[in-house]
Every structure is written in C-alpha cells, then in structure tokens.
C-alpha cells in the first residue's frame, strides 16, 4: 500500500526533465486553484462572504488548528503521527484554568501550561524515539491519558474569568483590517516552521528520516534526538494552541478541542504531506488550512450545519488522493478490464444505490412527524 501519488510529492522523479511543467503540476497549485474556486462559488452564494470583517472574524476559528498543523507536518514527514495533540491542548488549557482558579498569576499559569506541553510531547518522543514504539500506538495511549488528566484537573467545572490582557491572545485584533492576534501568532510560527523545514539541515533530516530511517541513522544523523525534538515541538505548539483557545473562549472546559486531532491530520494530509513520510511542503499545509477554513466559513454562511460540513471535508480528503490514483491506473491499464471487476463494480453500484435510496426513504416518516 505504498502507492504515493506522484503529483503530491514535493520532489519529482529526477528522470523527468520538463522542470517548468513539473513546477505547475505540483499539489500546491491544485490547492490554490481549489481555494480560488471556493472563493468564487462562495462569493456568488452569499453577499457576506467577501467582507473583510467577516473573513477576519472567521480566521480566528482556525488558528489553533493552524498552530498544531505546523509540527504535525514535521512529524508526518518523518513517517510518524501524533494523535495526542488535541488532548495535549486540553490538558495544558486545563492546567492553565486550574492554576487560575487557585489564584496563580495568569502569565505564570500560561508558562506552566507551555512547560506541561513540552513534557507531554517529551513523553511521546521518548517512547517513540528511545523505546522505538510505534507512534500511532504511543500517541493513542497518551491521547486518552492526557485527555484524562484534563478531566482530573478540572472535573466537570469550567475555569473562567480570565483578565482582559490574557483574552487578548484569542480575541484581540491588530491593525485597521482587524487581523486577529492569533493569526499574527500563527503566521509568525508558520514562517519559522517553514524556514526550518525548507532551509535548514534539520529540515532535510526530517525528509531523510521519512524516506529511509535506517539509512539516515547509518549516515550518522541523530534520528532519535530529532524525533524527540519534533514531538516536543508538537507538545509545545499544542499547549500554545490550548492557551489561545482558552483566551478565545474566555473559559476552559476539559473537553475543549475534542476531535481536533483528526481535523489537524486531515488538513496536513490534504496539504500534500505524504502520510507515509518523506515528502510535502509547509506551503501546502498552509494552503490546506486556508482551503478548509474558507470552505467551512462559506458553508456556514449559507447555513450548512458544522457537522454536515465535515462531509465535504472528508470527501475532499479522500478524493484528493483517490482521483490521481484512479486516473493513473486507468491510463496504465487501457481498455483491458476483467469481467470479474465489472461484475464487482455493478454489485457495488447496486449496493450504493440501495443505500442512498434507503437513506432518503427511511428518514421521511420520522421527520414528517
């Protein structure tokens, strides 16, 4: 199952010499085109879409996700994964809230939350890098563990009453266009993470680990230390996102950000970062965040419920990988299609048709009550 679609790779096979064409065939351009299409369609559907004020207000909804996408890109490029990001966010935000309830100064509490995030990422990193356990399993464990600690800290209460100087982090705006402060924070970190990934040796090592970890280790690269560092970065950024989300809501509950880890991974993968590691760019991840943000914002304006919006995001995620794959398979096979495959396809179509019919038919009696 290592069929990585060629278009999504940050680096193209060297035997292709048409560099200019390759440049335009890159995943990032497809994302840019999709963003343009979403803006066009939404502008037609709703007169409120192209208002700077609305756009800026909507932006702040996605900045916590953005902060977590950046280290997630690092981690996925090394062929690892971090399922615990949303739980780390909740645990750090809960510590912040708990300390605030105890009467601790809010900035000391925020510093403690960041430290806790670093420690949380450090535990993930140690188990993955030193004990050589699969990241999926380790972070599945800490996914439950950290979320559990958030509930231990706050129980069923909510921490609130943060000072205005603190809520500015999540609610404040900058400049005449009212750019959210959290967006400034995100853009700053996006540039830093992008530069580290694309312009430093550390960044090159991440790709090397993702392509062939064993070879990279034999080449003398401190693989274990690098893995530890990226998981700690992930913990730190998740804690930062937790602080921002606490400031934005003005209160903290231990169930904050539930399910956000899947949204973060979806955006990262949609950004063209190969789930098997070794390729992808920070610009792609950045564009994917904008695409998802604009889609959700636009759908929200035309009154599509948030949960129904996730259908579109899920379809986008699957089709972004499926369409290039199927197109390549069809072009390779030509017209030689086996009879068994045709029968199977027809059976699938019949099942799908039945499902769709039943889906719309069986809901009518209850909804008409």
């Amino acid at each position: 199952m290592t069929a990585a679609p060629g278009e999504r790779n940050g680096t193209m096979p060297p035997e292709r010499k048409r560099l200019s064409l390759d440049f335009f065939l890159r995943w990032e351009w497809l994302l840019a085109a999709l963003i343009a299409a979403v803006i066009f369609v939404n502008a037609q559907l709703s007169p409120f879409f192209l208002s700077t004020r609305n756009l800026m207000r909507a932006t702040s909804d996605f900045m916590e996700m953005g902060l977590m996408i950046l280290p997630m890109a690092f981690i996925i490029i090394t062929a690892n994964i971090d399922l615990s990001v949303a739980s780390t966010l909740a645990m750090s935000a809960s510590l912040l809230g708990w300390l605030h309830i105890q009467g601790v100064n809010i900035w000391i509490a925020a510093a403690a939350a960041l430290l806790l995030g670093l420690l949380a990422g450090g535990l993930n990193g140690l188990l993955v890098a030193r004990a050589r356990l699969p990241a999926l399993v380790v972070t599945l464990g800490t996914f439950a563990f950290y979320r559990g600690l958030a509930f231990v800290l706050l129980g069923d209460q909510a921490a609130r009453g943060y000072p205005a100087s603190f809520t500015f982090l999540g609610q404040g705006t900058v400049g005449a266009i009212r750019l959210p402060f959290s967006a400034v924070l995100f853009i700053f970190f996006a540039i830093v993470f992008g530069l580290v990934l694309h312009k430093t040796t550390f960044g090159r090592y991440l790709y090397a680990i993702g392509n062939n970890e064993e070879a990279t280790r034999y080449a003398g690269v401190p693989v274990a230390r690098i893995k530890l560092i990226i998981f700690m970065l992930s913990g730190f950024m998740s804690a930062l996102a937790g602080i921002v989300i606490a400031a934005r809501f003005g209160s903290t509950r231990p169930d904050v950000g539930t399910g956000l880890e899947l949204a973060v991974i979806t955006a990262t993968v949609l950004g063209g970062i190969n789930i098997f590691g070794g390729s992808g760019t920070m610009i792609g991840a950045f564009l994917a965040l904008i695409l998802i943000g604009l889609m959700r914002f636009g759908m929200g304006l035309v009154n599509v419920q948030g949960q129904v919006q996730s259908i579109a995001i899920g379809l986008l995620l699957i089709f972004s990988i499926l369409v290039p794959n199927v197109a390549r398979q069809l072009s390779r096979r030509g017209v030689a299609v086996r009879r068994g495959a045709v029968l199977a396809a027809m059976a699938m179509l019949a099942l799908a048709a039945f499902f769709i019919w039943f889906f719309f038919w069986s809901r009518v009696p209850i909804l008409n009550q």
């Binding site: 199952m1 380790v138 899947l262 991974i265 499926l322 199927v326 009696p365 209850i366």
Partner: protein, 338 residues
C-alpha cells in the same frame, strides 16, 4: 542463532513457551488487578458485577474483533464509531416508523447497512489505493456528517422505540443477556474464521508480508476488501445492540469509540504493524479495559480518572509487549507472536 540456542536449552524453552503464550501477561495483569480491587471493594468479586462487566464490554469486543482483522492486514478502521452512529440512527428511525418490523429483521438490516458502509471503505482502500488511515479518517467525517444529514439533528428516545427492539440486547431467554451471547457467537465465529479457514489465514499472510502473499497467489486486494466489509458488518451489528441497550439513537452515538476499539486490540497483543493478533488476546484486552472501568467505580476513585487510567494502561501494555518482543529476538526467537 544456534550458538545461543545451545546454552540453557531447558530454561530457554520454558521461557519461550511462556512468552509465546502472549495472553499470559494480560491474564496475570487482570488477576493482579482483581486481587487489588477485591481487597478494597467486596462488591467486586460477585456474580452480578462480573455480569455487569461482560455487559459493558460486549459491544466493544464485537467491534474490536473487526478492528483486529483490519489491523492484522496492516490497516486501521477509524470509521467504526461513525458507522455505529449512522447505522444506529437509520435502524432506529426505521423501527420507530415501522414498529411491526421484528427485532431480528432490524438486526439484519443493521448488519447489511454496516456491511455496505464497510464496503465503501474497502473499495476506497483497494480500488482507490488510498492509505487505510486516510480513507477511514475521511469516511469517519463523512459518516458522522451523514448522521446529522439523515436525522436533521433530532434523535430517537427510549419511549419511541418498540418494546421488542429495546429488549433485543437485554432480554435473556437463554439465561444470559442476548448482547453477551452476540459477542460470544461473534468471538467463536471470528476465532474459527481466522484459524481454520483459508480466507482467515490469508488475512495473516497479507499482514505478515503483502508482497510474498501476492506472489504466492493469495488474493490480496480481495482479502483487504473483505476485512473492511467484515469490520462494517460487525459495526452494524454493534450499532443495533448499542441503540437497543442504551435505548436511544443520538447524533453523537459512539463518538470517539474508534480509539477504544484500537486500544482493546493493542492491549490484547495485536501488532499494530500487522501480521499477528489473536481472538482470545483481544477478548482479554477488552475485558481488561472493562475491568478497570468497573474497578475505578467500585473503589470510588473519581470517574474523571477513568480515561487517564485507560491511557496509562495502553502505554504500559505496549511498553511491556515491546520489551517481550525484544527479549524474544535477543534469545533467538522470531519475535512473531501469532
């Protein structure tokens, strides 16, 4: 390897036999836990409480066994929770609209709908060549979104459901609640399927080495499609039992349950990299998770500790499991525990 093997053959073989019996470490862990809890809470070691634990882990066991087959093939099915939510809603709508539908037919309908959803997963993964984690992450969002689309945000309450449907999970015509019997039948069927049928053995072959499986003529794509369909079928069955047991179908039914099923499998010794995993192990994994949940309540530890304890348990399980594997490799074993 032979040089190592000549040293202390007696003790080594005993150690190997013990370690190869992967379930032993979980059994020891469960016994220790039972001893500690029983000393502190007399209500723990009673038949009603034991039945209570079994009731609580039945649905988890059913879905975790499907998840196990998927993980053995090196895949993962994150969409099980959303399939449960969607099927529970659709079947509950149907039985409320048509109370004449017998419970058995409702169960069959649930299994069929789950199988169709699972086949979508399988098709995206096999024909579309989408990595399983991405495909099921996508369908997790899609199926969960479809629950809202289907129900329009409403839900089905206990009093709306026909009595037969509510009794489906809880009635005990054979002395044991149906839901436990369902889990037992599924466990026996999956055990037989994995160990004594060709398609079942193919699942291990595909997971151990996909390339070798393909070269030796095993239908790899068909096997992959099959495990996702089975995972869907079992999720569909679990959905009906869920709606019946909790007497409701809500938009957030089984939210987050997918990670519990993975946890039960992993704690039960299923290798996340594929190729190995046993039915008894997974049952014990689910039982351990259920026992901890139950024990925390009985020894009056705040329920808020429950999730943290579960997470910690998963971590301990994988660390111990990995230590055993390393030890096995050091003394010349294959490290394969299946």
């Amino acid at each position: 390897m032979s040089a190592i093997a000549t040293g202390e053959p007696e003790r080594r073989s005993v150690f190997l036999a013990l370690v190869r019996f992967r379930e032993l470490s979980i059994i020891i862990f469960i016994l220790l836990l039972i001893a500690v809890v029983a000393a502190n809470a007399p209500a723990f070691l009673t038949a009603p409480n034991f039945r209570n634990i079994l009731l609580n882990i039945s649905i988890l066991t059913i879905v975790a066994l499907g998840q196990t087959m998927v993980i053995i093939t090196r895949g993962i099915d994150l969409s099980v929770s959303a399939m449960i939510g969607l099927v529970a809603m659709m079947v509950s709508f149907t039985v409320v609209a048509f109370p004449a539908v017998p419970p058995a037919l409702a169960m069959l309908l649930g299994i069929l709908l789950g199988g169709i959803l699972g086949s979508f997963n399988g098709l995206i993964i096999t024909a579309g060549k989408v990595p399983p984690i991405i495909a099921t992450l996508g369908t997790l969002s899609i199926y969960r979104g479809m629950v809202f689309l289907y129900s329009g945000g409403t839900w089905i309450n206990s009093f709306e459901m026909p009595a037969g449907y509510r009794a489906l999970a809880k009635a005990a015509p054979l002395g044991v609640a149906n839901i436990i019997l369902f889990a037992a039948v599924v466990a026996i069927a999956v055990y037989f399927f994995l160990n004594h049928t060709r398609p079942g053995r193919d699942i291990y072959a595909v997971g151990s080495n996909p390339e070798a499986a393909r070269v030796s003529g095993i239908p790899v794509q068909r096997t992959l499609l099959m495990v996702y369909v089975i995972s869907g079928l079992l999720a569909g069955m679990a959905a009906v039992l869920w709606a019946s047991r909790f007497e409701s179908a809500q938009t957030n039914t089984a939210l987050g349950f997918e990670l519990q099923t993975v946890a039960a499998a992993v704690v039960g010794g299923v290798n996340i990299f594929g190729g190995s995993g046993t039915v008894p192990g997974v049952i014990l994994g689910a039982f351990l998770l259920g026992t901890i949940e139950n024990a925390l309540i009985l020894v009056r530890i705040s329920p808020f500790w429950q999730l943290a304890a579960q997470g910690l348990l998963i971590l301990v399980a994988v660390v111990v499991d990995s230590a055993i594997r390393h030890r096995l490799q050091q003394i010349g074993g294959s490290g394969e525990l299946s």
